[in-house]
């Protein structure tokens, strides 16, 4: 016997699936008409993104290239930093400060990204340009640093959870064999946590990849193929944010931006699913 309220709750329970399906549908629905005017090869492998030129070019390769540059540099800074902070909190900080530090990380991670963009633009960029003599302060390095700062708290906190919850039997066993805390950490705990750390890395990458405002404000927005980290760049997400406001509905440019959105959505979806799958598997293993 199902009452109306039961049905209402069941229908609400399926909202998340419905929204994911709807997002997928509308992204593709507004992308497909692009191929009436632009060849798929020109879109996926085109090396020029000049959507307002005559004739326009809608090649996303430079944007994709810049996204790979910035995301890899950011993840390269984020994961080791998060790992170091996680060890710092578990092994070095006195117990009573642990909760305070984790709370601080949580509050820091809630800073809106537009504020990190403001700092990157008004403080880090002039410093890069005037003190470190870079050609421009709005570049890949600046964006990657600001992206890492805002991302670090999440993986740091998750890693801390895993390290402090790591099997006490194995830790004690290692110490009974004469290993000190650091040796136990590097030879027992870290190898035992490869899986969860892989999952945490994926989830962090998903965040960095989709983050828009910091890169939009700080990376310098030049749709070129960067050759080093001191050059400006424009990524997939920030291109949508920068251009959609001035693009009339139903033009090829409009469809192309939805195409970028669809690609962004599919890639982050796959990264997140991979991260979640690894986590599910290891959570089950650790329960045993």
């Amino acid at each position: 016997m199902k009452s109306t309220i039961d049905r209402l709750i069941s229908v609400s329970g399926l909202t998340s699936i419905a929204i994911i399906v709807a997002i997928t549908f509308f992204l593709f629905y507004n992308w497909i008409p692009l191929f009436e005017t632009v060849e798929p090869i020109g879109f996926f492998f085109g090396t020029l993104w000049y959507p307002t030129a005559v004739p326009p070019f809608y090649g996303i390769l430079p944007l994709l290239d810049a996204t790979v540059w910035i995301s890899s540099l950011a993840i390269f800074i984020t994961i080791p930093s998060a790992f170091v902070i996680a060890i710092f909190i578990t092994y070095i900080v006195p117990k009573k400060f642990r909760y305070i530090l984790k709370t601080f990380l949580e509050i820091f991670s809630s800073i809106p990204s537009v504020i990190l963009g403001l700092i990157g633009l008004s403080i880090v960029a002039p410093y890069f340009q005037n003190v470190l003599n870079m050609d421009t302060g709005q570049n890949i390095l600046n964006a990657a640093i600001m992206l890492s700062l805002i991302t670090i708290p999440m993986p740091a906190s998750m890693m801390e959870d895993f390290i402090s919850a790591f099997s006490p039997e194995q830790k004690e066993g290692s110490q009974a064999l004469g290993a000190n805390e650091f040796e136990t950490l590097t030879r027992v705990v870290i190898p035992g946590l490869k899986g969860p750390f892989a999952s945490i890395t994926m989830l962090s990458l998903g965040r960095i990849f989709g983050e828009t405002m910091i890169v939009l404000m700080v990376a310098g927005n030049a749709a070129i193929f960067p050759s080093n980290i001191f050059q400006p760049a424009r990524v997939l997400s920030s291109t949508i944010a920068a251009e959609m406001g001035e693009t009339p509905v139903g033009t090829p440019h409009f469809y192309a931006l939805f195409g970028i959105g669809a690609i962004l959505f599919v890639i982050t979806f796959l990264i997140n699913v991979a991260g979640e799958m690894i986590r599910f598997r290891y959570e089950r293993q650790m329960m045993k």
């Binding site: 929204i19 800073i111 990190l116 008004s122 650091f182």
Partner: protein, 284 residues
Amino acid sequence: MVKRMLKQRIAFLILSVISIGILIAMGSIFVIIFVNGFRVLNWDFLTSITSFDFKGMPHGGIGPAIAGTFIVTGLGLVFAVPIGVLSGIYLSEYRNRGKLFNFLRMMVANLAGVPSVVHGLFGLAVFVVLFRFGFSILSSALTLSILALPIIIVTTENAMRDVPNELREGSFALGSKRWQSALLVVFPVALPKVLTGVILASARIAGETAPVLFTGATLYLAHFPTALNQQFMALPYTIYGLMTTSINIEASTSFAYGIALVLITLITLMNISVVIFRLIKRKV
């Protein structure tokens, strides 16, 4: 033995230096915002209307932006809370194991991982164009509600799960139906924790820029919002607009810091209230 202990000492020292460096960098962001923002902050700045002179200098205050942020956040919650809470109840009381449950949970996690600019595109395609709500408070609030949804679902589910099973069994023993036990017995116990989820969700959506960029936010509005079909000013979007479109960079930057201080204060207060609530819960 001494050598190995020394190795541990050195390793922990290096780790500490790096960690403290990063934590100081994070802390200094709060300090920078506070110091720069405090200089422009006064009553007039918080309440009056923004205007730009012919040199691109911002004048007046951010009253409409504060109002806009409060309205879209509040309205976003009005849409997100009922659906999110019922959805969380479904996951904890109706389908709390099995394949569909795992799949649903993964979808919630994925929804939380959708880049906010993609939410903006979705809002543009559905609320602005398809539903013909136009660039408006309503479109932006609906878009933001989708961002808030996974946060509310997850916290509701966890809050309901933390309620001891004896309560459910007791209410079933007295002959109550599943929805009666879920909504009238378990939910009231879980309510305080559900509220922390709602606060976290509002802190999250109040600071979002990308979803409102092309669903209704505008850089300049000469009045306070009066209807849901109007465009609106929002705190995060105004920071972005000032920093990227203004001609007078120095004046815009200090103005932007003022807004950043207001925004960060709002969001941090919400987060701290959640932290305090958790502390009280732990001690009880």
